[in-house]
Symmetry: C2
Subunit: 374 residues, 2 copies
């Protein structure tokens, strides 16, 4: 990205008036000319442009330097006809504002050097303004929103859900069994509640600030809930806090996406916690999930990202299957069921985006014809 | 274990006559005086006796030396009042007989040095007798069966399910996204079918040999299916082979346990593939799962192994919950929903086993009283 990025105006681009982008319209279950499509991790290691930048900067530098984060965010928008950008950031940096020492260790992934081990550790968590901790991300959203205003491509803000952040804060690093966090919540229910409530408060402030900076939608990633928790643990240790979070986010005038993975067995309960859109992974067919969530909610998903590694005919069949199961019903946002994998051919991403647009333009046209006949 | 282990007689201990052990009776959904209990990985790193042996021998040595494998198998039977032993072995050694070069690399877990990468690699897989490849395990079963005959404690044989083995054969090591195996099955359906069928053939031979060596039940571990696969992939790439496997195992006169994890969302389909008992993880309440599986099948599970890390009152509540949900219905085998974790207090395991026995003796007594009144 060589040209300078203009600063966004302070006014919010959407909300008071009828939403203009297909993506935001679909979040509100309004009709669209074609199914909107974007891909989780659409900016990432599979793109040369990203790898080139990543080679020169640490992960935290990329997240914290507004111009770099904006540049990465815009890479897939320049390369593909996606219907939304998602701000380049990561789930864990907001924890730094709570006093947790975060480092991205090459090869090992993120590490928290002072994880929460005892109830007292919850009491020592600090509160800081999102503008202080996540100022780079907020400014990056302003830059991207300004840049994309003329194209009418909205930018999505995001954050990790309370459980996913609490897991990291307690485990200190990636985990296979989540034994520490699951023991903590069982054995220290008071401290667990304190931790989750502090995370909810932080997240509401941070996500509100993202909307105020120009995000047209907000996605909450509960990436670890379903990996770690059964339905009963989710009900007791997660649902009350997610409900409070989504309820508070409901007062912000942009749509909210409630995304999780591994929760297909209890997706109805996950959906009940809130959000305008429920983001689903690839573990069950999307029509089954949508039925269990209820058609009064929009849905986002659910192509298996592994399908993007296959040849085009194989990939096209799986795209067709998702589209057929949604049958042009308003409120479907096409996406992968989890992030795009490193090694994904760029050509497959481009073709996917165009194909979803073409195929669903036809479906919409057919439906309009049907409407006319009826 | 200092005393020598006698060799098993060639005759099968169970099958022709009425099963005598509570565990096998429960597999057959026959009444028992109390709910039988054993724990996946009941022999393992949480026990000092195991760690002492492991410190002196490599993993493959432990698996292949019948006397050592038998000794490890018997450790939890000596320490706790469990209703079954499970032969100490691992899922991957049978792959060695197919020509795959397996090594347990300290810190990294198992590695296959010549993984399957192309369709041609499937054609080069070899066929060997289980007595040649897994002779140590088969002899260990004989030793354990002989040792436990007087105690009437049955020994369970086991193997990995075709998908779980195929994943390892293709990925070559542990995986997060299973991208290689999922790409292979999508892009090379013919070779995939060939691989899965060869695995089924090998597994039928190996599991039959285990029963002939004295195993009173057989468990098939599909530990990775639900982590890796959604319902549609399972239907297309796994179910046909599992059905063939369980159908062939049905001709062996010992009960078969069909265990998987992460499959709660489509457990009905998993159960349809076969097995006398369906082994379930901890992701959904056991009564919900049993209802979806159907009460015409026995069920094994589903305590979260993390609960065993908690204090006794917390653990007891979770045991009570599982027992209450099963309500003494014949055909419940109490177990964890996945293997016992390293670091689990031995005292909790002992207390769990005794508690399940005590509590369910009471339930059975109450039911008998009720029956008398009715």
């Amino acid at each position: 990205m060589t040209k300078p990025i203009a600063r966004a105006s302070a006014t919010r681009p959407l909300g008071d008036s009828e939403p203009v982008s297909a993506f935001v319209r679909a979040c509100r279950r309004m009709t669209t000319d074609r199914t909107p499509v974007w891909l989780m991790r659409q900016a990432g290691r599979y793109m040369t442009e990203y790898r080139n930048l990543r080679a020169k900067h640490s992960m935290l530098d990329l997240v914290r330097t507004a111009e770099l984060a904006a540049e990465i965010t815009l890479q897939p928008v320049a390369a593909f006809d996606v219907d939304a950008a998602i701000i380049f950031s990561d789930l864990l940096p907001p924890l730094v504002g709570m006093g947790l020492k975060l480092e991205y260790v090459s090869g090992d992934g993120p590490v928290i050097h002072n994880p929460i081990e005892r109830p007292e550790d919850v009491a020592r968590l600090t509160v800081t303004s999102p503008h202080e901790t996540m100022g780079g991300t907020l400014r990056a959203i302003e830059l991207v929103a300004a840049e994309l205003q003329s194209k009418k491509v909205p930018v999505i803000g995001f954050a990790g859900a309370p459980f996913t952040l609490a897991s990291y804060a307690i485990e200190g690093r990636g985990s296979r069994n989540y034994a520490k966090v699951k023991s903590f919540m069982r054995c220290e229910p008071g401290a667990w509640s304190g931790l989750m409530n502090r995370l909810v408060d932080m997240l509401v402030d941070y996500l509100r600030a993202q909307a105020e900076s120009g995000a047209s939608a907000l996605q909450v990633f509960d990436s670890w809930a379903g990996q770690a928790l059964g339905a009963q643990d989710y009900e007791r240790f997660v649902a009350p806090y997610n409900q409070r979070l989504f309820s508070a986010l409901g007062t912000i005038d942009v749509p909210v996406i409630n995304f999780s993975t591994g929760t297909a067995a209890y997706i109805d309960r996950v959906a009940e916690c809130g959000g305008d859109v429920v983001g689903v992974d690839w573990r069950m067919p999307i029509d089954t999930l949508w039925e269990r969530i209820g058609h009064a909610r929009a849905i986002q998903g659910n192509l298996d990202p592994v399908a993007l590694l296959a040849s085009w005919p194989v990939l096209a069949r799986e795209i067709d299957d998702v589209l057929a199961r949604c049958a042009g019903r308003p409120g479907h946002i096409f996406n992968v069921g989890h992030g795009v994998l490193p090694g994904t051919p760029v050509g497959n991403v481009r073709r996917l985006v165009d194909y979803v647009h073409e195929r669903t333009s036809e479906i919409t046209k057919d439906q309009k014809k049907d409407d006319r006949c009826a």
